[in-house]
Amino acid sequence: MLLVPCPNCGPRNASDLRHVGESTARPDPSTASPEEWRTYLYLRDNVADWNVETWYCTRGCRKYFKLERNTATNEFRNPPLPGTKVGGKA
């Protein structure tokens, strides 16, 4: 289906990972307006192009990391190099 370049585990089948979705910035709970929360909760750009998204390596390193993928062609771009330590505490 899709080989996902996990920076810790190397290329792995997409079924070994969870697609968390398009990366969005979480608003500050103490200042965010309801509209900002709605945007964060529901709205995504959903482009048919290069997009930064979050994956979770469910059956490997169990880390979250960001990758750039083209949603029209399913290619990855500039993946973090293997051995680059990613994830860990958010």
Binding site: M1, N13, S15, H19, G21, R38, R44, N46, A48, N74
Partner: protein, 446 residues
């Protein structure tokens, strides 16, 4: 008498909006053409693109065409253009697994799909095209106590609204579909099923062509290979007058600008990209759904069988092929290529249900784009941009809702009010927090 009328389809077509009946198909016409070898006339006209219309509908699938058809038949609005970037029915309308049913989980959903099923029931006569509706019954299998509980819940919601729907035990399941493995030793034993006799399958291409032909006969124009590149707005908060508070003035296409006071977005998987052109953001992500079909064999599967736990649904066409579908692919993308994981998962799951089909061979597989919403319910009606309406977010269940969506969208356009049946599906529900959670009956079950 329509049966005996000689089909003079398509000749002497008048101008737009002259209220003619669609030219009729008939057995006699078929026989006459069989004997004479005369060509069938074009089903819809190929007319030049005009510079302005009363209504522009983006997307020539079952939703867009049904909206155009009901605008013309129910409301007399015929100066309408349906634009499609490819050909009519090239998207989800020709890629779905053609299953129709109304046994949903929420009262809003049930009322809505029941109306759709009623429209499908009379469609062959209404559109004078054989849509081959086969009301063969629909079984949703339960493999666990919690699934069975949801089935009971659904059955009660359904019965309250007079929908024929009940929970049956494994023996009754086996009486309806003898090829299912109901042994309690199965990895996912069948513990019961939700049985919905009015559900069935239908010829989806005929539905598309029927609406296109009916709309065309009433003056609606269909423009294929006409891609919308931008939506023109004025007075909005965003750049170029787009965005909330603004007003639609027309669309920019690869064949030039067209002006219209009303633009309707019926583009399924592409819905959020089209809405962005008007400055309206939608809570939609796009995921492909894969389906597959086997070689034809003797008819042995009398009902539609769905298993939510096993992520598979299957029916047998009148030609004898088994048509399979599954859940959406597990990540967003706009790619309609098939994958080996899908075939592998499908084969494993279907063999657990029906071990007897192990020697059958797959003929082909394909995918269509689904516009998924957070609550698995559609987004319909008006948007913060005046004149820009949406009929989107149809996820994996858009085909069975095609007729009623068209009817209700046409009413919304003609009356400029949101009809009661689609009130629950308005875009502002995400602001009000009144989501319509339909995942329990729509995530996999088709």
């Amino acid at each position: 008498m329509a049966f005996f009328s000689l089909g003079s389809s398509g000749r002497g077509r008048g101008k737009a909006g002259d209220g003619r009946k669609p030219p009729s198909y008939s057995a006699a016409g078929l026989l006459a053409r069989g004997l004479t070898g005369e060509d069938w006339p074009r089903v819809w006209r190929d007319v030049p693109l005009q510079s302005s219309y009363d209504v522009i509908i983006i997307g020539g699938g079952v939703h867009g065409l049904a909206t155009a058809y009901y605008l013309a038949t129910n409301h007399g609005i015929t100066n309408v253009a349906v634009l499609d970037k490819a050909y009519l029915g090239s998207g989800g309308s020709g890629r779905n697994t053609a299953i129709v049913r109304s046994n949903y989980l929420t009262p809003e959903g049930v009322a809505f799909y029941d109306r759709s099923l009623n429209l499908y029931n009379t469609m062959t006569e209404d559109l004078n095209i054989n849509v081959m509706f086969s009301e063969r019954g629909h079984l949703t299998l339960a493999h666990s106590d919690s699934a069975l509980r949801t089935m009971h819940w659904r059955a009660e919601v359904n019965k309250l609204q007079d929908i024929d729907s009940s929970v049956i035990d494994p023996q009754q399941v086996a009486e309806i579909v003898p090829s299912l493995d109901i042994s309690p030793d199965a990895h996912h034993p069948i513990m019961g099923a939700l049985y919905h006799p009015p559900g069935g399958i239908i010829r989806h291409d005929a539905v598309v062509w029927g609406y296109a032909r009916g709309a065309d006969a009433r003056g609606v124009e269909m423009h294929q290979k006409t891609e919308v590149l931008d939506i023109l707005c004025t007075g909005g908060d965003g750049p170029d007058g787009k965005g909330p508070g603004g007003k639609v003035t027309g669309v920019r296409t690869n064949r030039g600008d067209i002006s219209a006071p009303i633009v309707v977005n019926c583009t399924a998987g592409w819905a959020s990209l089209i809405s962005d052109m008007a400055g309206v953001r939608l809570p939609i992500t796009t995921q492909p759904l894969q389906a597959a079909v086997t070689e034809p064999v003797k008819v042995f599967l009398p009902a539609v069988v769905v298993s939510g736990s096993l992520h598979v649904y299957v029916s047998q066409t009148d030609r004898g092929e088994l048509v399979f579908g599954a859940a959406v692919d597990p990540f967003t993308n706009y790619n309609v290529r098939g994958s080996l994981e899908f075939t592998e998962g499908l084969a494993g799951h279907i063999l657990e249900l029906m071990p007897g089909v192990s020697k059958m061979r797959l003929l082909r597989q394909w995918a269509g784009l689904c516009d998924m919403t957070p609550d698995y319910s559609p987004v319909m009606g008006f948007t913060p941009v005046e004149g820009f309406l949406v009929d989107v977010g149809w996820g994996t269940y858009g085909f069975k809702a095609g007729p009623v969506s068209g009817e209700q969208m046409a009413e919304a356009i003609a009356t400029q009010q949101t009809p009661k049946l689609i009130e629950a599906f308005k875009l502002s529900r995400f602001e009000a927090g009144t989501l319509v959670g339909e995942k329990g009956a729509a995530a996999v079950g088709h």
